[in-house]
């Protein structure tokens, strides 16, 4: 019997469940591999462990799926959509066929990932009932016999099932169907049993009585941070990401996650990062145990080195808290919202500045070597087209319209000619921009350019753009 078929085989009509002889008769030269359920399960477990990069609560969903509880973790990824895009992108690059769904409940996500119309679905909060109503009842993880019964009764979609009164439904089909339905709709809880990565630093703390107050939670975090740092020191590592998994009395798990800009092995630093995120934790009726994991760690020498910006430049002494400050700000504002600017060898203004990590070593670049011309303090995210009139190609525009107000140019400087980077992009082979700095009657300064040299059409169409202010 066929246990599984790849995309090419499915296109030829080979489906799981088809007798092998029939399949071979239908397609000549079929490549057949012996099914290896144990191997598949092991590979799936490996994949689930790899997904710890996204959330500490991951588990394989046999036979072909993965659970990821990303509650509280999406912030580090700039939102759920970015997290899912990163996950599916990486899996696709590993030549896997991926479908993904994000929903409030595992049941709804399960149904949408398998039976939804789009390869990636993100259900807004509380929208699971509407999102799964149109899906076939198979999406609910029901027993095969029940599905056959439903088909016989003309119940095709989950929406049909929701419409049936609960009493008769239980009498006819037993409690199992209703439980699956409630799990999908969020009326019944369904904790997932997380896999634990084999070799990461972790410490566990169970409480005699469930705790719920912020003070006692903070004390518990501090009690965990010390031993974790000792273990990190023994391994010669520093934490880059921290996960605190809190097991609630009702069986649900809550996760606090924090990232760091540089490897960290300082117990107070770690405790502070996590304690600050306590407000996002819902302790419910109480938390009975906590596990502090370090899913991502980097090598760190045995003495905590001075952080780049502080030590090597010799610019600052007495700011050892900078890396803690950077971590706290980036945990609260989101990963990637802190950066430093580094000069890039590019004349094209929008490409001349790169973002580097906030604690990267100093570049010590002289920015004036890249362009000696003055640059505006505000650079528009993208140049805005403006209506401008210029008398001669080498003259700054005499007037233009900006934010619906006419601007009369009193003085100007330029042009500064910037050529396209033909070695990077073919389209820029002959393109150029002529930049002008101009000042209006009130002394306000603008930075405009004309696409092209104003005479030869192959260099640009002569349209004007405002690119910066000040």
């Amino acid at each position: 019997m066929v246990a599984g078929a790849d995309r090419a085989a499915r296109a030829l009509g080979i489906r799981p469940g088809l007798p092998l002889a029939q399949a071979q008769a239908r397609v000549a030269g079929l490549v057949i591999e012996e099914a290896d359920p144990a191997g598949d399960a092991a590979a799936l477990a490996d994949l689930a462990a790899w997904c710890i990069r996204y959330t500490p609560l991951t588990a394989p969903a046999h036979p072909e799926g993965l659970w990821l509880d990303i509650a509280g973790c999406a912030g580090l990824w700039d939102g759920e959509a970015t997290l899912v895009a990163d996950l599916t992108g990486r899996l696709r690059r590993a030549a896997l066929v991926v479908r993904a769904a994000v929903a409030d409940t595992p049941g709804a996500a399960h149904a949408l990932a398998r039976y939804g119309r789009e390869p990636v679905t993100i259900v807004p909060e509380g929208g699971q009932a509407a999102a799964i109503a149109a899906l076939p009842v198979e999406g609910l993880r029901l027993e095969a016999v029940d599905i056959v019964q439903f088909r016989r009764l003309g119940i095709e979609r989950i929406g049909d099932l929701i419409a049936i009164p609960r009493g008769p439904l239980t009498r006819r089909f037993g409690p199992g169907v209703l439980r699956r339905l409630d799990q999908a709709l969020g009326l019944a809880s369904e904790p997932i049993e997380p896999v634990v990565p084999p070799d990461c630093v972790r410490r566990h703390l169970a409480f005699a009585e469930p705790i719920a107050t912020p003070e006692s939670l903070a004390t518990a975090i501090a009690a965990l941070a010390g031993p974790v740092c000792t273990a990190l020191e023994a391994a010669g590592q520093g934490a880059r990401r921290l996960d605190l998994v809190c097991a609630r009395v009702d069986g649900a798990a809550q996760v606090l996650r924090a990232g760091t800009a540089a490897p960290v092995r300082d117990a107070t630093h770690i405790a502070r990062l996590l304690t600050e995120r306590l407000e996002t934790l819902d302790p419910g009726l109480g938390i009975e145990s906590m596990t502090l994991l370090v899913p991502v760690a980097d090598p760190l020498g045995f003495t905590q080195p001075a952080t780049g910006l502080l030590g090597t430049a010799g610019q600052i002494s007495g700011a050892p808290g900078l890396s803690l400050l950077v971590d706290r700000l980036s945990n609260r504002l989101g990963e990637g919202s802190l950066w430093r600017a580094a000069a890039v060898e590019s004349e094209v203004p929008e490409r001349s500045v790169a973002r580097i990590p906030p604690l990267a070593p100093p570049t010590s670049r002289d920015w004036r070597t890249i362009s000696p011309w003055p640059r505006p303090i505000r650079l528009l995210p993208r140049p805005r087209p403006v209506q401008a009139t210029a008398l001669l190609p080498d003259h700054p525009p005499a007037r233009f319209v900006w934010r619906r107000a006419p601007v009369r140019v009193r003085r100007g400087d330029g042009p500064e000619r910037i050529y396209g980077e033909w070695w990077k992009r073919n389209a820029e082979m002959t393109a150029l921009r002529d930049y002008f700095r101009v000042e209006d009657g009130q002394g306000r300064r603008y930075w405009l350019y004309r696409r092209g040299d104003g005479a030869d059409k192959s260099t640009g169409d002569g349209a004007w753009f405002l690119h910066g202010l000040g």
Binding site: S317, L325, S337, Q442
Partner: protein
């Protein structure tokens, strides 16, 4: 004039309460005429200051941002610059002496997040300065918190106000900042004073307006924009420098 004894005593008491004034903190000089007017002898460290652009510059605060960068260029230590929109262009910071190696940008997105980031950063001792770009209100409570944080750490804080509304009245709402500035661009002098017909752009010129200050009266100066070391200049073609512009209004 001799003050009656109890009045002098009261003054001392008030000065003790206003810690930042009485401590005579170190300050960043802004130029002799301005420093003589300010109680701290310049822009005091360990305090929160406010700067906004005037007129059409209210939305972008380009001149105000350059003013802030020029001041920070003369501090020591890393600078945290909390942005509401990532439109600050680093090469221009370098041009007024603030090397981008020193600046950590924090894109906060909303004014609330900017205030949060500013407060966190101002609490941190050892920073050179903290700038936050704020759109909308800067309330009394919020500014008081920032001012207290700055007093404790000794860090210079600058709140850059931005608004889509020109000369937004919200810029003048009461707050606990030590000084409040309005920076308006003025037509600059020709690059060659003796040959005004030669095209080109000289150093920008600003009207630097002290709208409010603890311990000093409002006043206005005309200055040349920050040079490569972040220092303001006195216009060469103005005879009496700072006293050219009379007080337009008194802000309390």
């Amino acid at each position: 004039m001799e003050l009656p004894g109890h009045l002098a005593e009261l003054r001392q008491q008030i000065a003790r309460m206003e810690r930042s004034v009485s401590r005579r903190l170190a300050a960043i000089p802004l130029g002799p005429a301005i420093d003589a007017h300010l109680p701290a002898g310049g822009l005091a460290l360990g305090a929160l200051h406010e700067a906004a652009g005037g007129g059409a510059d209210s939305e972008d605060g380009a001149a105000a941002a350059l003013f802030a960068a020029g001041v920070l260029a003369r501090t020591e230590g890393p600078v945290i610059w909390a942005l509401i929109r990532p439109d600050l262009f680093a090469p221009a910071l370098d041009a007024v002496g603030l090397h981008p190696d020193r600046v950590i940008f924090a894109h906060a997105g909303t004014s609330e997040s900017v205030l949060m980031a500013m407060e966190e950063a101002l609490r941190e001792p050892g920073l050179g300065g903290v700038v936050g770009e704020i759109e909308g209100r800067l309330g009394l409570t919020a500014s008081r918190r920032l001012q207290l944080a700055a007093e404790v750490s000794g860090t210079l804080g600058i709140a850059l106000r931005r608004s889509r509304r020109q000369d937004d009245p919200a810029f003048d709402a009461p707050s606990a900042v030590l000084t409040r500035w309005r920076i308006t661009t003025l037509p600059s002098a020709p690059p060659l004073l003796h040959a005004p017909e030669v095209p080109g752009l000289g150093r920008a010129r600003w009207q630097l307006e002290l709208r409010r200050a603890r311990g000093a009266a409002p006043r206005t100066w005309i200055v040349e924009a920050c040079d490569a070391q972040g220092r303001l200049g006195l216009p060469a073609d103005l005879e009496h420098g700072s006293d050219q512009v009379p007080n337009r209004r008194r802000a309390g």
